[in-house]
Amino acid sequence: MEAKKDRQFYTYAFPPEKMILESGAELGPVTVAYETWGNLTEKKDNAILLAHAFTGDSHVTENLKKGEEDKQVRPGWWEFMVGPGKGIDTDKYFVICANILGSCMGSTGPGSPAPDTGKPYGLDFPMVTIGDMVDTQKALLDHLGIQQLHAVIGGSVGGMQVLEWSVRYPEMVRCAVPIATTMRHSALAIAFNEIARQSIMADPNWNNGNYYDTGKKPDMGLAVARMIGHVTYLSDEAMRRKFGRRLQDKETFSFGFDVDFQVESYLRHQGNKFVARFDANSLLYITKAADYFDVVARMNHSGPVNNRDQNIIKYLVISYTSDWLYPTYQAKELIRTLKRSGQDVSFCEIEADCGHDAFLIPDERLTHLIGGFLDGVD
């Protein structure tokens, strides 16, 4: 096993050969921030691409060695799943995770300097789509010399990227694992995203997206946006269990607008924590990309039906019983579509009461499921 590499960067699409986005706009140069774990075989046939959820980044795991457990590090978002001997075994697979286009964790986004002015793009950054994000990942794989992926795996907005991969570059995907995701947003999901966007845009510090050199960021709006998001990632049961109606550091109500309940304190804490690490404009762009995402028609046409010569991808679809952002009925729609088009599909609805975020919470069942599935792919 090779020790983890630090975050790396790949920059391409230098002007005049800019990247052409799905909207028709041009963007360049484009930088992709990524990390890798494990070793690529000589035949380059053991690569797994992980797609992170929307406010995540390329930091999947620290992959600590024995004896390093108490090292001061920033844990990754899938620490329990990825590593030597784990569900996604870095002794077998070469795991890659790239930060998505439009984000603020090293890949090009609205906070990156525009080449002509040297100042952050702000709202001059073109609208990007899930397809555009996938295209930057494809460019990265080309750069790494990888022609086919053993698997592409991701949850939530990461799951959308998985589906986009399987319709955009089906010949490059042997198996696909979309988790807690959907072929397109429901009105409910769009509604929550719109509330998040409005809360940012209503913050006077947002200043039409030009806040990078003013010294004042739309922190309040961004924190509220995160609070809304956080509620949609949990479930009624999870919140009842975690907080109930318990009061925060007090015996009685304050009869004011300070924090009374633990859940209020928790949301404020989550909001403030988020402000320190995420860019408000990135949230605007990425939520819009998720809202625009719709692979229904292309999924319907993706399959071989009765033509055995065409590419068949092995899918593992996973949903969670208490996910109300992308409920199981949406996973079932995906399965129906895959069955009709003759794809090889497995599905498991995992019983969990912790809501949409369940795939980020350590769970033996998920580890076992994904590990076995990956090993079963030729």
């Binding site: 003759g342 599909v345 497995s346 498991c348 019983e351 076992h368 076995g372 599935f373």
Partner: protein
């Protein structure tokens, strides 16, 4: 060399019927023993449907393609003739609308293999005749009030049912199994009385 000794006797019989290299759908596939055997020994392309999360997850972790879901609903989504064989092994007795399900199965598969416990076995007849109680057996081990088996079927019933809903029985195997192990044998005489299970291969009649 086969691994027949590792799966239940009724599954061995079903396994022996399947042509190598075919596409198979196993309804109510449990832990996937039959599918795994068929993939290993007959090089089939298989899919299973299983309601129980734990069992479905176990199948997927074994590398099998399995959908967690209700078989009555899941079969509707497949295009016509998606499979060479559809297997309904020891599940018919729990199906709410058997005629409707068999109709769907004939649509999505070439041959349908159905197996079920035979309710006209002499031990069952004897319980009803001599003791006057709702029979229980190793194959149907539940009391009348907590049984998942909402139908009791005899070999004769199934032959008539197949005819009535428009199927041809292309093969019928009656077997007697030992519930203590995976062994069993084929019953050739007095099958209606002596068989614990019936295994039928049926096909939709051509107009």
């Amino acid at each position: 060399m086969g691994l027949t000794e590792n799966i239940r006797f009724d599954l061995q019989i079903i396994g022996s019927i399947i042509r190598p290299g075919s596409k198979v759908l196993d309804l109510g596939c449990g832990n996937g023993d039959l599918l795994a055997w068929l993939e290993k020994n007959k090089n089939i392309r298989g899919t299973g449907i299983e309601q129980n999360e734990e069992r479905a997850a176990c199948c997927i972790a074994r590398g099998l393609s399995v959908l967690q879901g209700d078989l009555n609903e899941e079969v509707d989504d497949y295009p016509d003739c998606s499979f060479d064989y559809v297997i309904l092994s020891q599940t018919l007795q729990q199906v709410f609308e058997p005629a409707k399900l068999l109709h769907s199965l004939a649509r999505i598969g070439g041959k349908v293999i159905v197996s079920f416990p035979n309710f006209s076995h002499y031990s069952i007849r004897a319980q009803l005749f001599f003791k006057g109680i709702a029979p229980r057996s190793d194959q149907l081990p539940y009391s009348w009030y907590d049984s998942p088996n909402i139908r009791v079927i005899t070999l004769k019933d199934f032959r008539k049912f197949s005819r009535d809903v428009g199927y041809t029985i292309v093969r019928e195997t009656a077997i007697n199994t030992n519930p203590q192990n995976h062994m069993g044998h084929v019953v050739r005489f007095l099958t209606d009385l002596r068989a614990t299970y019936g295994i039928f291969v049926i096909e939709k009649q051509h107009e």
